[in-house]
């Protein structure tokens, strides 16, 4: 049934049979594969609306909040657009720790902090962004405190306070599918509304700040399922450079009800956010994947709690200075309590309000498809979040700033980094917008975008996006593909992903606006999967959260470099090295 014969016109009987089978699968909760499309809405009747602004902020999390506020305060007209709602989508709602460098209480200097992060990150961090974090986080925390962010569990109302006070316009539940580039620079974006009979929305802007977060493969056990690298992939399509794709976030989840991320995190999601000071680690996560790979499922019959990686030889290396020793005083209670989603769940028996110990065994792949916070995303060309596309900025997890490096180093820096970078990029975008006019977008271009955007709704039949996503998950999530990497399997997975890219993405169907969103998300995840595989294949060494079974050692001679990815003139995904501590050379 999942075979497609383009020359075969189904008879009415097979037609009904296909539809019936699809309904049956859908009822069973399985995304149906190939099936007749029965759109509940009329794509041709979807109205189009247009907006204009100086600075368009895409995304409503921590980075988007500050980008909008600071762009406004710098004198720009600002429009925020978000797939979800301000403060209630992406990773922001679940991060509870906010790093601040308070000179009053820290014993070391900012220089010491940056050096320490660089040592833990084995050089993979960009010290310019690491320093920027430390310099600005306290001020951002003060503003958040004024807005009530540290007084309640949920972020929507505290975030709304400064936005409403400035009367910043918001469009919510709008999925942006296209960034528009004209005259060599950013011209705006386009997307569709998720509600009612739909709405195609065109947003012309002098500057755009991507605060779209990073993403994963809609994995189970981590609250990242709405993030599918939409910003990165849209930007890649218009020529932006991307980085950090080889790094891996190694969160695990429980073996019982593994998809229940709320339950797996104890009371984490219900906590009120708080601040924390310097606390630098080298939290791998992928070391547990390695232990599971080496010893089989290490959990069966074992004691509840974390995976014992101590007895397993080889595998990802944590620098001696940053090794967590089991039972070391201070390991319990402190950082995990405030660390938010920054790190994997703590060892069992964590006291003092840390996430409760995971009951039963642990399962890998909870955050599959996600790199390290702040490491993947657009390649910055300066310290203000500018990308390789003039007028296009990024901040937070959408910016490949390598603030923490290819490993999560400073507890609480994820949320703080988004705030700091959002504010800086917002200001920079406002400044840029002052110097340019709105770029003209030919109407033919807008028509083409609309057709592309709504295509899955208009297909008579096609692949269900949920089914394609599950297929992608089956290829990408297993431990031996992107966690414990080796060339042969990554090549095999790449072949699979390319097949999905070439043969399934063009045939995705959508019966309603929700499915249309899924269709675009699925396409974006497939591009991201290809990037991850190619970058992981290219990096022939092991370092931080990137572990190659066939290149287990760190190779400083060849690999003191990040990997950038961009679309070459031939349309092909093109990878290049960018030396650590150097800005990209665009030549």
């Amino acid at each position: 049934m999942n075979q497609r014969d383009p020359f075969h016109q189904p008879s009415r009987r097979t037609f009904l049979g296909l539809a019936g089978a699809a309904t049956g699968l859908a009822a069973a909760g399985m995304g149906a594969g190939w099936a007749t499309n029965r759109p509940g809405i009329d794509a041709a009747a979807i109205v189009g609306t247009a907006h204009e602004t100086d600075v368009l902020v895409i995304g409503g999390g921590m980075a988007g909040l500050f980008a909008a506020v600071k762009a406004h305060d710098a004198g720009a007209r600002v429009l925020m657009v978000s797939k979800g709602r301000l403060g209630a989508s992406g990773m922001t709602p679940f991060a509870k720790g906010f790093f601040v460098f308070d000179p009053e209480t820290e014993s070391g200097s900012i220089d010491d902090f940056v050096d320490s992060v660089s040592r833990s990150a084995l050089g993979t961090n960009n010290p310019v962004f690491t320093r920027q974090l430390a310099e600005h986080a306290l001020e951002r925390a003060r503003e958040l405190r004024d807005w009530g962010f540290f007084d309640q569990t949920l972020s929507h109302r505290p975030f709304l306070k400064p936005i409403a006070a400035r009367a910043i316009a918001r469009l919510e539940r709008v999925m942006i599918t296209h960034l528009i580039r004209e005259e060599g620079r950013i011209a705006g974006a386009a997307g569709f509304g998720l509600d009612g009979a739909g709405e195609v929305i065109t947003l012309r802007a002098r500057a755009v700040v991507l605060c779209t977060g990073a993403g994963g493969f809609k994995p189970n056990g981590f609250p990242v399922c709405d993030l599918t690298h939409d910003g990165t992939v849209m930007a890649y399509r218009i020529g932006a450079w991307v980085t950090g794709k080889e790094w891996n976030d190694g969160h695990v989840t429980r073996s019982t009800n593994p998809a229940a991320c709320f339950d797996a995190w104890g009371d984490m999601f219900e906590r009120v956010p708080g601040t924390n000071g310097v606390e630098i680690h080298h939290d791998l996560g992928v070391d547990m994947n390695y232990a599971a790979y080496r010893t089989g499922n290490p959990l069966a019959g074992g004691p509840p709690g974390s995976i014992d990686t101590a007895g397993v030889s080889g595998g990802p290396v944590t620098p001696e200075e940053f090794r967590r020793r089991p039972g070391r005083p201070g390991d319990e209670g402190g950082p995990p309590e405030r660390g938010g989603m920054d790190r994997r769940p703590p060892p069992p028996g964590g006291k003092g309000g840390g996430p409760g110990p995971m009951q039963g065994g642990q399962m890998g792949g909870a955050s599959a498809g996600m790199a390290i916070h702040k490491s993947e995303g657009l390649v910055p060309v300066d310290d203000r979040g500018a990308s390789t596309v003039p007028g296009l900025y990024a901040a937070g997890d959408a910016l490949g700033s390598h603030m923490a490096g290819g490993i999560y180093t400073q507890i609480g820096s994820s949320l703080a980094g988004s705030a700091v970078q959002g504010a800086i990029a917002g200001e920079a975008a406002a400044e840029y917008a002052r110097g340019v006019d709105l770029a003209e977008v030919p109407s033919g271009r807008l028509d083409a975008i609309r057709a592309e955007m709504l295509a899955p709704l208009t297909r008579k039949e096609g692949y269900g996006p949920a089914w394609v996503t599950q297929t992608l998950q089956g290829v990408m999530i297993p431990n031996f593909v992107l966690y414990i990497k080796k060339e042969s399997l990554m090549r095999a997975a790449l072949a699979y992903v390319q097949e999905l890219r070439d043969h399934h993405v063009p045939m995705l169907r959508a019966g309603d606006l929700h499915e249309l969103r899924l269709a675009h998300e699925t396409a974006n995840m497939i591009v991201s999967a290809e990037m991850k595989l190619r970058a992981s294949l290219m990096r022939t060494e092991s370092r931080c959260s990137h572990y190659r079974l066939d290149y287990p050692d760190q190779d400083d001679e060849n690999w003191r470099a990040w990997i950038t990815i961009h679309r070459g003139e031939d349309g092909q995904m093109t990878l290049a090295k960018q030396p650590f501590d150097a800005w990209p050379s665009l030549g």
């Binding site: 209630a88 998720l194 009800n257 593994p258 998809a259 229940a260 339950d263 999601f269 998950q473």
Partner: protein, 71 residues
């Protein structure tokens, strides 16, 4: 199961707006929240926590097969 049930919904739409994954929609008939796309629920409980009348009950089970790094 994911979102298990909704009882006592007043139709304010807070859950629809706060669901990152667009699982919930308001029924055009009676204006109340319905679990429209349960397979996409990431079991994060935001809807439950945003609901002003505490109408949403959660369950930890996912309604579709779960793919993990190891089994």
């Amino acid at each position: 199961m994911t979102i298990k049930s909704i009882h006592g919904c007043i139709g304010c739409g807070e859950c629809v707006k706060s669901c990152p994954c667009d699982v919930l929609r308001l029924d055009p008939g009676n204006g109340k929240a319905v679990i429209a796309y349960p397979a996409d629920c990431q079991i994060c409980h935001l809807c439950r926590m945003y609901c002003p009348v505490d109408a949403i009950e959660m369950a930890p089970e996912k309604s579709i097969p779960v793919i993990l790094a190891w089994g």
